[in-house]
C-alpha cells in the first residue's frame, strides 16, 4: 500500500538543483510514496515576499494549500525544501490563527473557485521519513548501508526555527531527525558546530562577505570534524554550501576545501540501492562522485 501525498517540489529543485527533484522522484516509489505534483502552485515567497507584503504571500500560499486539499485521497502535503516549509508554515500559522484573516484570504481565492480549509498537514520530506514512514521501515528498506560514510547534518534555518510555529516539541523533536535518519541508513553521524546554523544564502546579494563567511565556516567546521560529506533538506543551503563552495572557501582562507553536500533524497537513494549517477550526484559543483570512494563506502557494502 502506498501513501498518496500532494507534493510541492518548490522552484529551486526544478531550477538550479534539478538533481534534487530527480532524486525525490526516484526514491518515492521505493519508500511507498505516491507523489501527486502540485504543478499549479506558486513560489512560497521564500520569506522575501512576506517581507514585502504578508497578505500577498499568505494568499499565494493559501492558494497552493487549497490546491493540495483538492488532491483526492492525499494523506498530507509534502515539500522537499526547508525554506518552502518555513515560508508555508508562516503563512499557515496566520491563516489558521485568525478566522477573520482566513476569510479575507478565501474571499480573494473564491474568484478561482478555491477555498483553504484550516489545518492542512504540510511536512518536509525529513519529517515524513521519521513520522510517517518510520525509522524501522526505513532501515528495513536499506540495501546498501552507508557503512563508513561520515555524514554531517545541515538542516537550514527555516526547518528548525521558530520551534512553536514548526511544532517542534517533546513528541516530535524535529530538530533532531537528521542524525536519526543518517544512522537508520547505516551511516555515521558527525557532530560539528554548524548543523543548525544559517548557510548565509539569504544575504548573498546584500552582504556577500558575511554570507560566504557563514558557508565557509560551517564547511570548514565539518571538515575539521572529519566529515566525508554534508546532507541537507534545503536546496537553498545547497546553493551556498555546494555551488558557492569555491568562493566560500576563499572567504575563510581555506584552500583545501572539497566538502560534498548531498540533498536528503540523494542520501536516502544511495542506501536504497540507487547509483550516484542516477541520483544526479555528478551535477554538483563539488562532485561527491570524485571525492568519496563509493565502491568502499556504499556500493561495496551490500550485506551478505
Amino acid at each position: 500500500m502506498s501513501t498518496k501525498v500532494a507534493y510541492w517540489p518548490g522552484c529551486v529543485s526544478r531550477g538550479f538543483t534539478p538533481e534534487l527533484h530527480g532524486a525525490m522522484n526516484l526514491v518515492a516509489p521505493k519508500l511507498g510514496l505516491e507523489l501527486v505534483q502540485l504543478n499549479r502552485g506558486s513560489c512560497t515567497g521564500a520569506g522575501v515576499l512576506a517581507e514585502h507584503n504578508q497578505e500577498l504571500t499568505d494568499t499565494l500560499n493559501g492558494r497552493t494549500f487549497a490546491l493540495a486539499q483538492q488532491v483526492d485521497k492525499a494523506e498530507f502535503m509534502m515539500n522537499i525544501c526547508s525554506t518552502c516549509q518555513g515560508a508555508q508554515s508562516e503563512s499557515q500559522e496566520r491563516l489558521d490563527a485568525n478566522a477573520e484573516y482566513r476569510h479575507e484570504v478565501n474571499h480573494t481565492l473564491a474568484q478561482f473557485g478555491l477555498k483553504y480549509e484550516k489545518g492542512i498537514v504540510n511536512k518536509n520530506f525529513l519529517w515524513v521519513l521519521v513520522e510517517d514512514i518510520g525509522l524501522e521501515k526505513l532501515k528495513s528498506l536499506v540495501t546498501n548501508p552507508l557503512t563508513n560514510l561520515k555524514v554531517g547534518p545541515f538542516y537550514g534555518c527555516y526547518i528548525v526555527r521558530p520551534v512553536e510555529r514548526l511544532h517542534i516539541n517533546d513528541e516530535n523533536p524535529r530538530d533532531t531527525y537528521l542524525p536519526m535518519v543518517i544512522e537508520a541508513l547505516g551511516g555515521t553521524v558527525i557532530d560539528y558546530a554548524g548543523s543548525h546554523k544559517c548557510c548565509g544564502f539569504p544575504i548573498v546579494t546584500m552582504n556577500k562577505e558575511a554570507s560566504l563567511k557563514q558557508a565557509g565556516t560551517h564547511l570548514t567546521d565539518a571538515q575539521e570534524a572529519a566529515a566525508d560529506c554534508l546532507v541537507t533538506p534545503c536546496p537553498l543551503c545547497h546553493l551556498n554550501l555546494d555551488m558557492q563552495q569555491p568562493v566560500a572557501a576563499k572567504a575563510v582562507g581555506n584552500d583545501d576545501l572539497h566538502m560534498p553536500v548531498l540533498h536528503l533524497p540523494q542520501l536516502v537513494g544511495l542506501a536504497l540501492g540507487a547509483t550516484p549517477k542516477e541520483l544526479g550526484m555528478n551535477k554538483h559543483v563539488v562532485r561527491p562522485t570524485s571525492i568519496i570512494d563509493w565502491s568502499e563506502t556504499v556500493i561495496g557494502s551490500i550485506p551478505a
Binding site: 522552484c11 513560489c43 546579494t205
Partner: protein
C-alpha cells in the same frame, strides 16, 4: 529531590589561564530555575563564581546566558526543561556565558562593548515632532498597541548572544537594537522616520544583513520577535519610504515581487542581476554591479553549466506556470496590492482564536468587492 550536574564554563582574565569547565552536583526540584542551581553552587561550593542576577522574575534582564546551548534567562528556565537539551541525555546542564560579546569573568559578559553600543547606534529615544504640544500628544490607540511588542524588551542580550549574522559580521547592528529602532519608527510621535530608515537601510551592516535565521525569535524570553520587527522595518523602508539602499536590499525584494508575478515560480537566474541592477528594461543584466558579480562567480558558474546543473536554455528562458495559473497569481497581486492599506496580522497582538466564524465586518465587504 533529583540531582543535577551543573557544568559551568569558568574564565578569569586576571589569572591568564584559558577558559575551563567546572562541574558541581546540586539537588533541585525539576520546576526550580537554573539560576537557583547556580546560586546554590556559588553559596555552597565556590563564592568566586561570577554571575549577574537581580530580580529572579524575568524582569531585570540581568541573567542572560547559554543553557545547554540555548540562549535565555537563567531565572525563567526550569531545570526540568533545560535537561531536555542535555548532550548525553542525563541530568547534565551545561552553562556558558552569552556569545557574540567578550567575557569579563565566568558568566558575566561585556554588554557595554557590544549590546549597549549597538542600542546607542539607533538613536533610542523619541525625536519629537515640533512644535511639542503644551499637553500630551494624542495618537490612535492601535499605533501604540503596535509598538508594545518592541517595548517588552528587557535588554537581556539573549538575542544578541546567538545572532548568526553577527557571528559572521560583528559590525551588524543586530536584533535587539533593530527591534528598538522599530519602537521609534513605529511611533507616530517621532518626526524622523525617513532619516532613521535611510540610515539603517544604507548601513552596510544594517537592516539588510539579517539572514532571517529566526534565532532571535526563539531566544527572546519576552516574545519581542526581533526578526519580525526587522522585516517590518524593511517593509516600511522599501514601500512606504521608497528607500533604494546601497546594499541591494530593496532591489532584491522587488526582484521577488516582480519575478513571481511574471512567472509564478521563481526564476533564480533572474534574481541575481535584478538584485544588483534593478528591474529596468534589461532586468539588471547590463548593470556594472551585475557584471562585477558575474566575473566573481566564474569559478563555479562554469562548473555548474558544464555539469548540467544550470542549463543555458533555463537561464535565458525561465520556467513558468501555465497561462491560466499565471492569471490567477496576477489576479491575487491585483487584489492585494490594490488595497489602500496593507493588511497585516501580528499574532502577538491578536493572539490565536478559538474555532469559529468571523464576527466583525471585513475590508472586502466594506469595499463591496465581488466574489
Amino acid at each position: 529531590m533529583p540531582e543535577y550536574t551543573l557544568r559551568i564554563r569558568r574564565y578569569n582574565p586576571e589569572t591568564g589561564e584559558a577558559p575551563y569547565w567546572d562541574q558541581y552536583t546540586v539537588e533541585l526540584e525539576p520546576h526550580e530555575a537554573v539560576l537557583t542551581g547556580i546560586l546554590a553552587v556559588k553559596n555552597r561550593f565556590d563564592g568566586s563564581l561570577g554571575v549577574r542576577c537581580s530580580c529572579r522574575s524575568a524582569i531585570c534582564g540581568s541573567c542572560g546566558m547559554r543553557i545547554n546551548g540555548q540562549p535565555g534567562l537563567a531565572c525563567n528556565t526550569q531545570v526540568g526543561d533545560a535537561i531536555k537539551k542535555s548532550k548525553d541525555g542525563t541530568n547534565l546542564i551545561e552553562i556558558e556565558p552569552m556569545g557574540n560579546m567578550p567575557v569579563i569573568k565566568d558568566l558575566i559578559v561585556d554588554m557595554d562593548a557590544v549590546h549597549w553600543k549597538k542600542v546607542g547606534r539607533v538613536t533610542p529615544w523619541l525625536l519629537a515632532k515640533q512644535p511639542v504640544p503644551e499637553r500630551e500628544y494624542i495618537v490612535p490607540r492601535e499605533s501604540m498597541v503596535d509598538v508594545t511588542q518592541t517595548m517588552a524588551c528587557i535588554q537581556c542580550g539573549s538575542c544578541v548572544s546567538d545572532c548568526l549574522a553577527m557571528e559572521a559580521d560583528p559590525e551588524f547592528i543586530g536584533p535587539a537594537a533593530l527591534a528598538k529602532a522599530y519602537r521609534f519608527i513605529g511611533d507616530p510621535r517621532d518626526a524622523q522616520h525617513q532619516q532613521r530608515l535611510d540610515d539603517l537601510a544604507n548601513d552596510k551592516h544594517g537592516l539588510y544583513t539579517c539572514t532571517h535565521c529566526f534565532k532571535c525569535i526563539d531566544a527572546c524570553p519576552k516574545d519581542v520577535a526581533p526578526m519580525s520587527q526587522i522585516m517590518r522595518l524593511r517593509r516600511l523602508a522599501g514601500q512606504d519610504h521608497h528607500i533604494e539602499d546601497v546594499n541591494n536590499g530593496e532591489r532584491h525584494e522587488q526582484a521577488f515581487v516582480v519575478l513571481i508575478k511574471k512567472y509564478g515560480i521563481l526564476a533564480e537566474a533572474d534574481v541575481v542581476p535584478r538584485s544588483y541592477g534593478g528591474n529596468g528594461i534589461t532586468a539588471g543584466k547590463l548593470a556594472p554591479a551585475t557584471m562585477q558579480q558575474v566575473v566573481s562567480s566564474l569559478p563555479f558558474m562554469g562548473k555548474a553549466l558544464l555539469r548540467g546543473k544550470m542549463k543555458v536554455k533555463d537561464v535565458l528562458i525561465p520556467h513558468r506556470l501555465e497561462k491560466s495559473d499565471l492569471a490567477e497569481v496576477r489576479a491575487i497581486y491585483d487584489t492585494v496590492l490594490g488595497r489602500e492599506k496593507r493588511l497585516e496580522l501580528n499574532l502577538y497582538i491578536t493572539g490565536y482564536d478559538e474555532d469559529g466564524e468571523p464576527t466583525t465586518e471585513l475590508a472586502s465587504d466594506k469595499e463591496g468587492a465581488t466574489a
